[in-house]
């Protein structure tokens, strides 16, 4: 059989690594991207990439601990075999990127330097200045360019993925795409389509994400039947620079290198922060989390910063919530060597040198843990079976998802510097399975009848024409987008309340109605960004609904999903026996909550336009779920009680059970 042809949508880390590996395996790749691939959003990743390494290994670290930190940090909401596989691949991936020429920072002896990131106690993070994502992306971009010159890859830059083409068996046979310059449509017959289109931050209006992160590609796949997992889990990064057009990320590496978060103990202390004495500063993360200090997992840091500004009223400024992120105690030269990129961003956009003056930062929507539901094949060793066509396949056969746009690796909360790893890993790893899957299909895409593609193409053309031809209500798509963003930011970020979520769901439906009636102001057919944006705005509503309904139905707190109404407080009692009893109760409650809620949310498009939610059991066969106790009052005692219970149950069962296949749970 002829070598397969694969379409890759998205040229960030995941898309490029998939393309590189596929091209290497002799596959002809059509790589589509909204922007030149070198300009993909991966460039914004700053801090680094995680993996166990020679140094941490000697301090007791291992792949298993990386795996454990990842699932613990993610509150156990991820199937464990793929995560284990990723952690196992970590060292190899860093080595590979090193070989590709990524200028990782070096120790005096010439080894890769490492820094500490959130959610771990090891210095596991390799980094290249404070622009690690950019550096990794460039290395992959260069390799793909090499394959392009050799004729194995064709890049289609400034192209928009509009729809997967499904045959009568429901298998994906290619894609319909549009040239954003000439606005021409084209069908791309393919034996497999890999979506690597990144996150959907624009659903929140302003976020740390780039302007292409509309989520339109995954939304379109979802609207064609692909299941969507854990949509409600949206990471809000604790530290970003507020801005009118964008919230610019201030990397966790600032804290990894010793940056401290604080607020003046006097609300809105008007003094120059540098003159405020130590005693009058509240280093709230260090005080509340003595073990992890400023490097608690992101969801926790975010909530603390949010809390100290809103509930406790200790925001540095009155009109605008923010806290200090202070680097001024660190040597300038060291800062320039390790953090130059992010300090430059602060300096350029705020006009203040963060080496001299503490930065003012506040949380911002940053990453989507959720994404297209993807499958995997468990291997004999508990990892993911390489070469299986099931790996990273969405619920549509032949349609794959990798990178931020899949839901696979980060559960309820992503650890810093794990996304670069998951993107490169999933891209590389999926390739052999994609090839195996396309070879198992009876017909090749080339043999597929052109009628199938013609019909799909015409459908997209008609949609486009209809949009251009709309006689509008005078409503403006940009205005609608702004309202959507403000709404989502208000109700579906750090703190979530059911009454707000359910009201917001109705509001989103109303906004969608307004969108259906709004008209584009540019009706031309040449580089019409107006119509492209309007189209992608329309695709944000299904995602917004998935997020809201997922959040509404999940009555618990897990990772980034925090509902005060369902928060379980720490131990209150002071008397030892009472405290012990409380700990027992706490553990009971945890166990019942796990039984009820340790499930992935899986959304499918309903006929009525509303997502149909189902819940899928999570494969926790490798590491049994345990309470996530960062900084909780009475954590020690709860942990003790929990450990006793675990030991007792293990003694009973004689080892942990091993889960196998995991069909999607029926609609509940």
């Amino acid at each position: 059989m002829a070598q397969p042809r694969v379409v890759v949508v998205g040229g960030g880390l995941a898309g490029l690594s998939a393309t590189m590996r596929l091209a290497e395996l002799g596959v002809t790749v059509d790589l589509l991207s909204l922007v030149p691939v070198k300009r993909s959003h991966s460039v914004c990743a700053q801090g680094g990439i995680n993996s166990v390494n020679a140094l941490t290994r000697q301090q007791g670290d291992s792949e298993w601990k990386h795996f454990d930190d990842t699932v613990y940090g993610g509150d156990f909401l991820q199937h464990q075999p793929p995560v284990k596989e990723m952690a196992d691949w970590g060292p190899r991936i860093i080595d590979l990127m090193d070989r590709l020429g990524v200028p990782f920072n070096r120790t005096p002896e010439g080894f890769r330097d490492q820094r500490r990131f959130g959610g771990t106690l090891y210095k596991r993070t390799a980094f290249a200045g404070a622009t690690t994502g950019q550096q990794l992306l460039y290395a992959l971009d260069e390799q793909v360019r090499r394959h392009e010159v050799a004729g194995r890859v064709t890049k289609w830059e400034f192209w928009d993925f509009l729809a997967p083409v499904l045959d009568d068996t429901g298998r994906c046979r290619g894609a319909i795409c549009q040239d954003l310059v000439s606005m021409q449509f084209r069908s791309f017959p393919a034996d497999a389509v890999i979506l690597a289109s990144g996150g959907c931050g624009l659903v929140y209006g302003r976020s740390t994400m780039s302007m292409v992160c509309t989520g339109s590609a995954i939304s379109r796949a979802y609207q064609h039947g692909a299941a969507y997992g854990n949509g409600e889990f949206i990471q809000v990064h604790p530290t970003a620079i507020p801005g009118a057009d964008k919230l610019r990320l201030m990397s966790e590496s600032a804290r990894g290198e010793g940056g401290r978060v604080w607020v003046p103990r006097t609300p809105q202390d008007p003094r120059d922060p540098r003159t405020i004495p130590e005693a009058e500063r509240c280093y709230f993360l260090e005080e509340r989390y003595p073990k992890y200090k400023n490097l608690v997992p992101r969801d926790i840091a975010t909530r603390e910063i949010f809390d100290i500004c809103t509930t406790e009223g200790l925001s540095v400024e009155k009109d605008r919530p923010c806290v200090y992120l202070d680097l001024t105690h660190l040597p300038r030269q060291e800062l320039d060597r390790k953090l130059h990129g992010i300090l430059e961003i602060y300096e350029k956009f705020q006009g203040v040198d963060p080496r001299d003056v503490p930065m003012k930062i506040f949380p911002a929507v940053h990453y989507s843990m959720g994404g297209l539901w993807v499958d995997y094949q468990r291997s004999a060793t508990g990892g993911m079976e390489e070469g299986s066509p099931r790996n990273h396949q969405t619920s549509i056969p032949g349609l794959y998802a990798v990178g931020e746009c899949d839901y696979q690796y980060h559960g309820a909360n992503r650890l810093g510097a794990n996304s670069l790893l998951s993107c490169i890993f999933s891209g590389l790893f999926c390739a052999s399975g994609v090839i195996a899957g396309s070879q198992s299909s009876k017909r090749t895409a080339a043999e597929e009848s052109s009628r199938l593609f013609d019909a799909a193409l015409r459908r997209e053309q008609d949609r486009h024409e209809a949009l251009l031809g709309r006689r509008g209500s005078g409503d403006n798509p940009y205005q609608i987008h702004q309202e959507l963003g403000a709404l989502m930011t208000r109700v579906a970020t750090v703190v979530r309340r059911n009454e707000q979520l359910s009201a917001a769901y109705d509001e989103v439906c109303a906004l969608e109605d307004r969108w259906r009636r709004c008209a584009v102001s540019d009706t031309g057919n040449w580089t019409n960004q107006n119509v492209v944006f309007t189209k992608s705005l329309g695709d944000m509503f299904p995602l917004a609904k998935i997020i809201l309904i997922g959040a509404l139905q999940r009555d618990e707190c897990r990772g980034a999903h925090f509902k005060p109404a369902f928060a379980v407080p720490g131990l209150q009692a002071t008397d030892e026996a009472a405290r012990r009893r409380e700990a027992e109760e706490w553990c009971d409650r945890f166990a019942s909550n796990t039984a009820r809620w340790l499930k992935s949310t899986v959304a499918r498009p309903g006929a009525d336009g509303h997502p149909q939610i189902a819940y899928e059991d999570v494969d926790t066969s490798l590491i049994p779920p345990r309470p996530r106790l960062y900084g909780l009052v009475g954590a020690d005692l709860i942990e003790e009680v929990w450990r006793e219970r675990q030991q007792a149950s293990e003694a009973r069962v004689g080892g942990t059970g091993v889960g196998s296949g995991r069909p999607l749970a029926a609609t509940s």
Partner: protein, 289 residues
């Protein structure tokens, strides 16, 4: 891509009613006449050119209230790492995201002037076609020629000094500022002939690109990879490219590249190093022949 957002922060009273006047050089499509159009948007503190353009796109009206097609421009990351939003702002090439309105108004209080880059063919309005820039990276083989992406252990040991030398070069985001400001880099805009196939045209265009000046960014990338222990295994191929038509010799040492580079990449150092390498290489080749 555009996704305008009105700022949530409201302007302080002192700025109420103040307007920013913007003059934009527009062009509907390649080969068409360009024309100036004036716009006005309400002033807000801490605006950058992107947020001004977002408001213009959302309004889709010129300063005199005439409905116009929204202005088209390129942008993505908005934090000066993706290299998308290069344009001529008040006559100088820079990134629209990091061009803060307050500073532009200090420079030129009457109005802000926006033009597309002049060294690349205009696609529409402020969007230009920078394929030639990326072709430059292909010409100099700006990559490490690894065997494959399988596991072969770590990369070569590299001293901190080498890393600190390489890293700045590796932050080049292909924005094209260096090319725009270079007096030696001139526009190449072939027009498709009647009856010419798309492939034939693409080939002819590529030929023209390949005879034109490769540009500071590509020279610098060639030096980056020629310094890498594995990258240097094809150093000769890069020098061959750098000494062919449109190579390093085209540089006129105006040094605008380094002056306008938003990432302050030591481009002239790379150029001089390329000059040195080319000298040695050419002499060696003369004797090795």
């Amino acid at each position: 891509m555009i996704a305008p957002n009105h700022a949530a922060d409201s302007a302080p009273a002192a700025d109420e009613g103040r307007e920013i006047r913007v003059r934009i050089l527009r062009q509907d499509a390649p080969g068409q006449e360009s024309y100036w159009e004036r716009h006005a948007v309400p002033y807000e503190p801490n605006m950058n050119v992107i947020s001004v353009l977002q408001r213009i796109a959302a309004g889709a009206r010129s300063a005199d209230g005439r409905p116009v097609a929204p202005v088209t421009w390129d942008c993505n990351c908005l934090e000066e790492v993706c290299g998308s939003c290069t344009m001529l702002i008040n006559g100088r090439t820079r990134m629209a995201c990091s061009a803060l309105v307050d500073r532009l108004l200090e420079e030129q209080p009457e109005e802000i002037e926006l033009r597309p880059m002049s060294k690349f063919p205009v696609v529409r309005d402020l969007v230009v076609d920078r394929r030639r820039l990326f072709r430059g990276l292909e010409r100099v083989k700006a990559w490490v020629p690894v065997d494959d992406s399988y596991d072969h252990g770590p990369g070569p040991r590299i001293s901190p000094e080498e890393q600190e030398d390489a890293y700045p070069l590796s932050t080049c985001m292909s924005c094209g500022c260096c090319l725009e400001a270079c007096p030696q880099y001139t526009k190449i805009e072939p027009v498709r002939r009647e009856g010419e196939t798309g492939e034939a045209f693409a080939e002819r265009r590529q030929g023209a690109f390949d005879r034109g000046f490769v540009g500071a960014h590509a020279v610098s990338q060639a030096m980056l990879f020629n310094a890498h222990p594995t990258g240097k295994m094809i150093a000769d191929e890069r020098l061959e490219a750098l000494t062919s038509a449109g190579g390093i010799q085209m540089c006129g040492n105006a040094q605008n590249c380094v002056a306008v580079c938003p990432k302050a990449i030591p481009l002239t150092r790379s150029i001089a190093r390329a000059g040195r390498a080319a000298t040695v290489w050419a002499i060696k080749r003369l004797f090795d022949r």
